[in-house]
Symmetry: none
Subunit: 430 residues, 2 copies
């Protein structure tokens, strides 16, 4: 089975919006063992979209379109798919009811244009949209017309005997991704049968790409059914194991073989696998050790707490904290002594430690984390340059303070500091 | 003149590497006034690449390939272009010397495989690579064979009379981008003449896509030299004006004409244009009115303060704030009365208001913002479902409290709440 992806949107052609749907779908297809040989992007133009879908249906068994299912006039995917496949658009009352329900829930009157989103090609299997209004759907196209029992027309453009699958998905990634996970992947797995491509990503923080590379260089040159790739992000290096195997359990065994080799070499530098996040690992550790956390942030401005609270159930261990941008707040809310601020300055190991102690007292938590530094672009000096950050973790038995020098713009410095701060907590609770 | 882009690389199809060349080239083409109607990605496979180049040459005047010019066996672009166009590959001694020079400079012996990168289709104009080894090139393909003076064969696949341009560029963005700026753009400008495509994005928040659509529906169906597109994001709807004009000042005038129409209809629902962010608009307003801000967050968990502190210079107006996940903190740090929490619950307009008042007192700020709600996935009830959020803004003359019901997962609810909270501040300070 092979697939082709057709992304739809003039904004993609113009390069104003980066297409993240297509790479996501590429990874999904690889994950279920379906080859994808061509990916196409066309604008909101019915003729060119029709041509792209026709061409794709001729050379691939599975065609996935993304985008153009919205309620506005430049959303042309429904009509175009209907024209190419000969399947009439019919009103799906269940979807209309769901769309109406969404608007009622939001206490907004549904505009008439949204009715269009409930018009679905006949014979389609509907993929409900849990996040937005536009549903997705799957059409099975066959060149042989079944007479009598079903009145769905044959697909005239088909040159092959085997039925083809046409899937239409909404463009916004936050709508497309959950729909793919919940509705498309299970169907693809069933359609593909037994050859499996599986992969696992091991995520590390604390080493540079070259340092990780040096530890696993022999594995990075593996060829054939098992490969390992290395991918660098800010303050994070991922290793991805990919295996091809006759079935899922053989794939899992082979992944585990390579994974355990990597884990022996990298140990607890690995904070998680696949979708596991650093903030979730922190949460796991805190829950397991029945510890609570309070956080005081200066230069990260709330990012550490934002990340901690991205984890469902964070309220079990995270009590709260402060963003102390003004020095006055460091004194009044955290009890950092004025003398300390005057002698060492706000960006110093002494103040970081005092903030961490102070936030424990203020929130009543067992652990107190504090971050103070210079995110830039201004505020740096020769002695304390932009990117200098102190991170302190206070606990009943004492405190640990890290001195870090990060590179990058304001956003990157904030992110790297949050990554290092979270990892400091993680290592304390594993 | 219209163009088609062919990106080459199996790693792009697999979604492990995000294709940034194609959106970059999309913006470049739009900037010089060349329409781009189709973009294709194929893997490192000679047959499929040949088919993609042939198809592109048939429907576009300009075809740009990116990738596959490296020294390894899976780099197949040179051979494929030679096969499709009938132009023989010939050794370009000037390029070979340059490649040798690069290796000598790095004190590395040049591998024999790199000689391949100096083999260029006959008749090509070479684009030197200042960063890496692989040069790019431009071929002018004509269907009429000039006999005698030049021995370049005609391009058999051509169905049009006009000569076509085929440009091959290296894949790594840091090699491609400077080559495009220095060598491709000037040539394209000369080929196109003076036409300019310019665009502006107006960003709104506070209305749904359908509501914005209804206000500008006549503009969305504009065709020809001026178009308006609509793009929905979580709690944000963008309108992009794109114009084609004979020169930059005519383009700017036409953009302003459409922009002022849109602004008359949407007024201060528009918070910014192009790269301007909502958090920057908040900062501008606070600075202009010389106001300071303190923030108390519950369900957004630090995200509002993180976004505010993404803006350089935020310390001029943002004093700091709290993340009060635990109710005890709402009482001890913000002075929210126990009676209020017991009577109305933490997620209530009364507590939101008390938090906003409390954070003003605690930070000494003029304005106090508070967010309290249920981000999910648990913690909801029939009376207070997941996604229910109260947002309060307290100022010396009183307070405003919003009740919001957001849909989506935990992350989306947090983001939408932060967006609405920032917009509440923005509207108070414009």
């Amino acid at each position: 089975m092979n697939a082709e992806i057709v992304a739809i949107g003039t904004e993609l052609l113009l390069g104003f919006v980066v297409n993240s749907d297509t790479p996501f779908l590429g990874r999904v297809l690889a994950g279920v063992g379906i080859g994808c040989y061509t990916q196409v992007t066309v604008g909101d133009n019915p003729e060119r979209l029709a041509e792209a879908i026709r061409t794709a249906l001729n050379r691939a068994d599975l065609v996935i379109t993304c985008g153009g299912l919205g309620p506005t006039v430049d959303d042309i995917t429904l009509e175009t798919i209907s024209a190419v496949t000969g399947r009439r658009l019919t009103l799906n009352r269940a979807i209309l009811k769901k769309i109406r329900g969404r608007f009622a829930h939001l206490k907004i009157r549904m505009p008439n244009t949204n009715v269009r989103q409930a018009m679905i090609p006949e014979g389609a299997v509907v993929f409900p949209n849990e996040v937005g209004t536009a549903p997705g759907f799957l059409l099975t196209l066959s060149s042989s017309r079944k007479r009598g029992s079903r009145r769905i027309p044959a697909f005239a453009g088909m040159t092959h005997k085997r039925p083809k699958l046409l899937v239409a998905l909404p463009g916004p990634p936050y709508e497309l991704m959950p729909m793919v996970e919940k509705h498309l992947i299970p169907r693809l797995r069933r359609a593909v049968g037994k050859t499996v491509i599986a992969s696992r990503t091991l995520k590390t923080t604390g080493l540079t790409e070259s340092e990780v590379d040096a530890k696993v260089i022999d594995l990075l040159s593996l060829k054939g059914a098992t490969t390992v790739g290395i991918y660098a992000h800010p303050s994070q290096v991922d290793l991805r194991i990919t295996v091809k195997a006759p079935n899922a359990s053989a794939a899992e065994r082979q992944i585990l073989r390579v994974e355990s080799k990597i884990r022996r070499r990298l140990g607890n530098l690995i904070f998680g696998a696949d979708e596991e996040t650093l903030e979730a690992a922190v949460g796991e550790g805190l829950k397991k050790k029945r510890l609570t956390l309070g956080v005081a942030e200066s230069c990260t401005g709330g990012l550490v707490q934002h990340r901690i609270t991205e984890v469902p159930g964070a309220s079990d261990y995270f009590l709260g904290g402060l963003v102390t941008y003004a020095n006055a707040l460091k004194k009044s809310a955290l009890g950092v002594p004025t003398a300390l601020l005057q002698k060492y300055g706000a960006v110093s190991p002494q103040v970081a430690r005092a903030m961490a102690v102070g936030v424990r007292q203020m929130t009543g938590s067992k652990l107190g984390l504090a971050v103070t530094g210079i995110a830039g672009p201004t505020g740096g000096s020769k002695k304390k340059p932009v990117g200098l950050v102190y991170i302190a973790l206070s606990h009943p038995a004492g405190a640990k303070v890290l001195r870090c020098q990060f590179s990058g713009d304001r956003s990157i410095v904030k992110f790297k500091a949050s990554q290092t701060a979270l990892d400091l907590i993680r290592r304390a609770v594993i």
